[in-house]
């Protein structure tokens, strides 16, 4: 299959999400396994990619003061049924710049695939970097997803990340994000996952608020059914005055699914303040009855409630 055909096949597997392919002012990069099969850059954005045995090493650099209006699209995936894709990524977001990256990870035919990411993200003072990672898996699971990311957020900088897997079967997810936050910086991490079948999900999110006035929110929303299992370990520590943070984990459990939430908050400065909230349970009965009294079946009502929770 040619590079163009492979890129198209990857994008087609994304459905409506793959419609970014055209447009001169839209930066994008498509990687199938360890091959770059499509790319387009815009001024102020550099992407250097090297092929490694089982994946790629990418260095993404956003130049100082550059603000990219349209989302940058990254498409990582594998069309074969099995294999390893290892993404090693270093991202340098220079001072006062802005970019919003949408990473689409697609494994439509997976039977035994490992998708591993090791990323370091450096966000310079005054910059904003948004990273939305959306996974689309096939109906059979068969994917081991291991994203590990370390983020350094400079003074007054902002980092927002969302990880979403709501279509297809998750397989095994072992998610590990850590962030160090300088003064007046902002960190927001959100995960939304639907687990089905025998999916196993582990989420580790850590935020360290070491700068004065740093702020962070760690939100995890999961809906589990069948025999899915999830464990969420969210840790937020504050060691500087006026650091503020909140940890929130909500999980809906149905059938034989299992959920565990371990919010850890650590405060070592008397002027810092961190709160946490965790709720695990079945679908709220009043919400369910309200929607059923509008004529929705129990399954339809449950799906709509979960859609809201994960929105």
């Amino acid at each position: 299959m040619s590079d163009v055909a492979t890129a198209r096949a990857l994008l087609e597997s994304l459905g409506a999400f793959g419609s970014h392919f055209s447009g001169d002012d839209v930066a994008h990069l498509e990687v199938n396994g360890n091959e770059v099969v499509g790319a387009h850059l815009v001024p102020g954005l550099d992407v250097d990619v090297e092929q490694i045995d089982d994946g790629i090493e990418a260095h993404i650099r956003l130049h100082e003061g550059v603000r990219i209006a349209n989302p940058v699209h990254l498409c990582f995936g594998m069309l074969p049924t099995e294999g390893l894709q290892h993404i090693v990524m270093k991202v340098d977001v220079e001072a006062d710049s802005f970019a919003s990256v949408q990473a689409h990870c697609t494994f439509p035919n997976a039977i035994d695939i490992t998708h591993k990411m090791d990323a370091v993200v450096n966000i310079a003072p005054g910059a904003t970097y948004e990273y939305f990672e959306r996974h689309l898996h096939g109906a059979e699971g068969g994917v081991l997803v291991v994203p590990k990311t370390l983020v350094n957020i400079g003074e007054g900088a902002r980092f927002k990340t969302e990880f979403e897997l709501v279509k297809g079967q998750a397989g095994v997810i072992d998610f590990d994000y850590e962030a160090d936050c300088d003064a007046q910086s902002t960190l927001e991490m959100i995960t939304r996952i639907i687990g089905r079948g025998h999916d196993t999900v582990t989420i580790r999110e850590t935020g360290r608020l070491s700068g004065e006035g740093a702020r962070a929110v760690l939100n995890s929303y999961l809906a589990l059914r069948d025999d899915a299992r999830a464990e969420v370990y969210n840790t937020l520590s504050a060691s500087a005055p006026y650091a503020r943070g909140h940890v929130d984990c909500k999980e809906i459990v149905q059938h034989r699914a299992f959920a565990k939430a371990v919010p850890v908050v650590e405060v070592s400065h008397p002027l810092a303040h961190i709160t946490h909230e965790a709720a695990i349970g079945s679908v709220d009965s009043k919400q369910l009855q309200t929607l059923m009294s509008r004529g929705l079946s129990e399954d339809e009502a449950t799906d709509l409630i979960i859609e809201g929770l994960l929105s």
Binding site: D284, Q289, S293, R294, G295, G308
Partner: protein, 247 residues
């Protein structure tokens, strides 16, 4: 003509009889008010008609268009045209208003959702993308609930204290919705203590100790309630037959 008939309905909750051989007919296309002291069984009656979990183990029978609702689950009752407006509407974290209103709507188009929001006095441009969550005031939630019910085009609406916890503007919108229901030919059974709301009813029923003590014009029933039921002399014990008002 009666759309809904209750025959000798008795329901115990926690070992205590809440509905006591209750029999009543509701006329199709009319606005009925249920009046009674706290604990008389008004909300229980609404929940029982809706068939909510925990309210289905009653004796006697409830008939819609002459057909028994025994064993008919909530969603099927709704599909047959019955719905309930809660005294405290549920909050739905993250759920957009357009998705909520369209969920049970007969016509699920965006235009129809916008029309429903307009009818309850909420600007669609401002509200259609908002979430049905704790960011809404009590009055806004009541109005969103009404919009979702109007969109259903139901045959029978149970309204549990539609005026509780809302401001004057929201109250006016509830009156507008009552007029809309009337125009649609929808039967309304509303639980209220408010004279302002009662004025929009065509008939009233006085509920006491799980029974219909009397029925008639709103003026007659609300007058009796004001003179004899505040405070309640029955203290929510079952009323002896001789205390029932003459027919």
């Amino acid at each position: 003509m009666g759309i809904l008939e209750l025959h000798d309905v008795t329901l115990e909750l926690g070992g205590k009889p809440i509905l006591n051989n209750l029999s009543v007919d509701f006329w199709e296309g009319h606005v009925h008010a249920l009046i009674g002291p706290n604990g008389a069984g008004k909300s229980t009656l609404a929940n029982t008609i809706m068939g909510l979990p925990g309210y289905t183990h009653h004796s006697g029978d409830i008939l819609l268009d002459g057909e028994s609702l025994r064993g008919v689950p909530v969603d099927e009752r709704a599909r047959r045209g019955i719905t309930l407006a809660w005294q405290e509407p549920a909050r739905f974290e993250g759920l957009r208003m357009d998705r909520f209103i369209a969920a049970g709507a007969k016509v699920k188009s965006r235009e129809n959702v916008e029309d429903m929001l307009t009818r309850v006095g909420l600007d669609p441009q401002r509200y259609i993308g908002r979430k049905v969550d704790k960011t809404l005031s009590g009055g806004e939630r009541k109005r969103v609930e009404l919009a979702s019910i109007l969109a259903m085009e139901p045959r029978l609406v149970l309204m549990d204290e539609p005026d509780s916890g809302i401001d004057v503007e929201a109250l006016q919108r509830i009156f507008d919705a009552l007029a809309d229901f009337k125009a649609m030919g929808t039967t309304v059974i509303m639980i209220t203590h408010s004279m302002a709301v009662l004025e929009h009813a065509e008939h009233a029923f006085l509920l006491c100790n799980g029974r219909i003590l009397d029925k008639g014009s709103v003026g007659k029933i609300s007058g009796y309630f004001a003179d004899n039921c505040i405070p309640c002399h029955h203290e929510n014990m079952p009323a002896p037959e001789e205390e029932m008002m003459p027919a």
